[in-house]
């Protein structure tokens, strides 16, 4: 029992990260979060390997399944972007106002970026993920 206090500290320290980055799951392929912008969005979509997707838009919650073509397209775009080779962060030197912040996790690798600093190769990925959010899974 006396070891628990040390774990408290570890838990406290580790927890600092928890809410920022969410939790990982063995079946999860993609986690995408888009926040800010003129409308102050807070959109989060989690896509499982089997295409099951969970979309959260502030208080709204949707579940849907992405078709095979979309999943293939998504994975191809991640491959084209050489996502695993991207840095963890691409941020503008000075932020500005109403910019979107994007946090994308794919196969365990997370990239955080913002408008005006998004790597060119990542844009097609973001555009497809944005379409998935806007359509709420509807074709």
């Amino acid at each position: 029992m006396k070891h628990q206090i040390h774990i408290i500290v570890i838990a406290v320290l580790a927890g600092w990260l928890a809410s920022c980055t969410g939790t990982s799951s063995s079946g999860m392929l993609v986690e995408y979060r888009r926040s800010g912008g003129f409308a102050g969005l807070d959109d989060r979509v989690v896509i499982q390997v089997n295409g099951q997707a969970t979309l959260t838009r502030k208080a709204e919650h949707y579940e849907f399944v992405l078709d095979r073509d979309t999943m293939n397209q998504l994975q191809a775009l991640f491959d084209d972007a050489e996502f695993s080779k991207l840095r963890r962060e691409y941020l503008p030197p000075r932020q500005g106002s109403d910019l979107f912040e994007y946090v994308v996790t794919y196969n365990g690798h997370t990239v955080r970026t913002m408008d005006t600093a998004v790597p060119e190769a990542l844009w097609p990925v973001l555009e497809l993920l944005n379409q998935i959010i806007e359509s709420g899974g509807k074709p």
């Binding site: 006396k2 070891h3 928890a18 409308a39 109403d98």
Partner: protein
């Protein structure tokens, strides 16, 4: 050498002309003979503003009847205006209005009034920037005002240029070798710049406009069409309102391809034209209402880019590029004014874009967005339907809860997202402004809030500061015993900003990551390694056992308070960083299955103990302090010293 002498002579002449025209003897201009007729026609009810340079009227206000002969031309307002002016040629020293003025166009406003714009020409050649506007009443029976920039007394020997366009370009390029020609050189009659115009000094000239794309430089060279002398250089960038609008063509490179510059006609691209026109409307608002010359107060060029990205439902102001950017359909009036107000804020109070100051930053953008687009209290009502998601607008200053914003401090929203809720809690000051504006009128309210923003607020101002600053501004403008002062006080009080209220602690754990780890940590690379280790700890250790889950849950319960206390105490923050740094190697080895290789030292245990006690003290008996006290009673922290990470982890899972 000869050219230099000529330039010098021209300068001397212009200086002399300016001197003469501004000499004391000119302060009482002689009344043109036609003015008496004008007075008779209006029964003496006419107000005339005189142009000091020309001695002619520059603005006439009254009720000047149109005669049946004028009204015959009613179907064509421009012809009616020209016929009307024909009866008052002596007032403006016109000779033949239909030969000296040509119609540019007319607009009919929302009150039904028609405003005709006429351009001066001399023997068929345009006189640079010489415009008359005739303003007709809604019933079309009278002229209610005339704005005149007519230049009388032009007498040129010929309007045939002796210097051709190519030679004029060569001359201009000598002054700006790197400049690119924007449009073909244009022949005009140049009578001098504003403040020194004279028909007697008018010359036939080429206007040669050269520009550099980035950083933007735009000069118009006025080249004498008789002897290749540069008569004047007009700096378009700082000639009052100056806009450059680009299109990204659905890419993301900024600024993109130029689609419209200041003075250009409509481009035909609706987004380009809207961004351009509404940037102009925003410029005019700040200039006319608050006397501010562009967003920086110094005439900065307003650069916009439209058609940014694909499926991009957003608009933003980027400090890096110093420009606004719009996705398809986003350049609507209030959004454009909102974005440019971010630029105004950056160049005045420079409110930090997070937490309370960020909410104020957003609120001022909404407030002045609503003042530019004045007919309602909605923000973004004209956005494309696919970007509104079935809603009528994005925000409503008169009723913030309608679109999910709080309108009272009791509903303050704590969130990590969106720079800690800048677009959410802005609803509170938005509603305060609405309360005030509806009590004393928009004209007074906007004056008070502009003064608040540019005079009294600073980067980290809170909502409470904004209340105090607005009251100070009101006191400056209207006195402290005024109706206005009471309205401002009551407007803030009604949303819970009573001068005492403070928001709850910011329980945003992202602040810990961004501020503690990324900003305050001395070594950025080491900070990232710590982040990685903690993520792995969370996923591989804490999430996989019941004991780990227990402590993670405990953490979530108190995370806000921990973050709040740590971020506000430099010593606690430093201790936290030190502990993170010291335990990271051991945690990594534990995660890699080598936890038996690293010992937990006495120093670390001591530091952790002090850290937790300090944290509890800082919480002053709050729930976090109680939780720490309970755990400290249950375990002997010092007993951990000398154990390996592996031993500690096994122990926790098999107590």
């Amino acid at each position: 050498m000869k050219r230099r002498i000529v330039v010098l002579l021209t300068v001397v002449l212009v200086v002399l002309a300016t001197f003469v025209s501004s000499s004391p003897g000119f302060s009482q201009p002689p009344t043109p003979p036609g003015v008496e007729k004008l007075r008779q026609d209006t029964g003496g009810e006419v107000d005339i503003t005189w142009d000091q340079e020309s001695g002619n009227p520059s603005f006439i206000r009254g009720h000047i009847p149109l005669l049946p002969s004028d009204l015959k031309e009613k179907a064509d307002p421009a012809m009616a205006a020209l016929t009307f002016l024909g009866r008052y040629i002596d007032v403006f020293e016109l000779e033949d209005p239909k030969a000296e003025l040509e119609a540019v166009g007319f607009v009919t406003d929302e009150l039904g009034m028609t405003h005709v714009t006429l351009r001066q020409v001399y023997q068929g050649v345009e006189v640079y920037n010489a415009v008359m506007k005739v303003h007709l009443s809604a019933d079309g029976k009278e002229v209610v005002a005339i704005s005149s920039g007519f230049v009388p007394g032009i007498a040129l020997p010929s309007v045939k240029p002796q210097v051709n366009a190519e030679q004029a370009l060569t001359t201009a390029k000598m002054a700006m070798p790197e400049g690119e020609l924007t449009t073909d050189p244009k022949i005009v009659v140049y009578a001098g710049a504003t403040g020194g115009r004279s028909g007697a000094l008018a010359r036939l000239a080429w206007l040669v406009e050269l520009w550099d794309d980035w950083p933007p430089v735009d000069n118009v060279y006025v080249v004498d069409a008789t002897d290749r002398v540069i008569l004047d250089v007009l700096d378009r960038l700082y000639e009052g309102r100056d806009r450059r609008t680009y299109t990204a063509d659905h890419g993301t490179s900024l600024p993109g391809r130029l689609c419209r510059r200041e003075g250009d006609p409509s481009s035909g691209d609706q987004d380009c034209d809207n961004a351009h026109d509404f940037a102009g409307a925003t410029y005019d608002y700040y200039r006319n209402t608050h006397g501010r010359d562009s967003y920086d107060g110094r005439g900065a060029t307003m650069i916009s880019t439209v058609h940014y990205g694909r499926s991009y439902c957003n608009a933003f102001w980027t400090s890096d590029r110093g420009q606004t950017v719009y996705g398809d359909g986003f350049p609507v009036k209030d959004v454009v004014a909102h974005e440019w107000t971010h630029a105004v804020t950056q160049h005045s109070a420079n409110l930090e874009y997070r937490w309370q100051s960020g909410a104020l930053n957003e609120s001022f953008s909404d407030i002045f967005g609503a003042m530019v687009d004045r007919d309602d209290w909605l923000m973004g009502e004209g956005l494309p339907p696919n970007c509104l998601g079935g809603r009528e607008a994005i925000r409503d200053l008169s009723n913030p809860p309608r679109f999910g914003q709080p309108d009272h401090t009791s509903d303050w929203v704590s969130t990590c997202s969106d720079n800690e809720g800048v677009h959410t809690n802005s609803g509170i000051p938005n509603k305060a402004y609405y309360n005030i504006a509806t009590a004393i009128g928009k004209d007074k309210a906007e004056r008070i809030f502009y003064r608040t923003l540019v005079i009294y607020l600073q980067s980290t101002s809170s909502l409470k500061d904004a209340r105090a600053a607005a009251l100070r501004s009101t006191q400056d403008l209207y006195g402290s015993n005024s109706t206005e002062y009471n309205a401002v006080r009551d407007g803030f009080n009604a949303v819970g900003l009573d001068g005492v209220w403070q928001p709850p602690p910011n329980d945003c754990v992202c602040a810990a990551r961004t501020t503690l780890l990324e900003k305050a940590y001395p070594d950025r690379l080491a900070a990232l390694q710590v982040v990685t280790t903690l993520s792995r700890t969370r996923d591989q250790l804490l999430n996989t056992t019941s004991a780990g889950q227990h402590y993670r849950t405990l953490y979530y319960r108190h995370t806000g308070r921990i973050t709040y206390l740590v971020l506000r105490d430099a010593e606690l923050r430093a201790m936290g960083q030190r502990i993170l740094h010291e335990v990271t190697p051991g945690l990594n080895q534990l995660l890699d299955g080598k936890g038996e290789q690293t010992l937990i030292t006495h120093e670390v245990v001591t530091e952790v103990t002090i850290f937790l006690k300090r944290l509890a003290e800082a919480d002053k008996g709050g729930p976090l302090a109680q939780a720490i006290e309970q755990e400290m009673k249950r375990v002997d922290l010092q007993g951990l010293a000398g154990m390996t990470f592996e031993e500690a982890w096994k122990r926790i899972n098999n107590p």
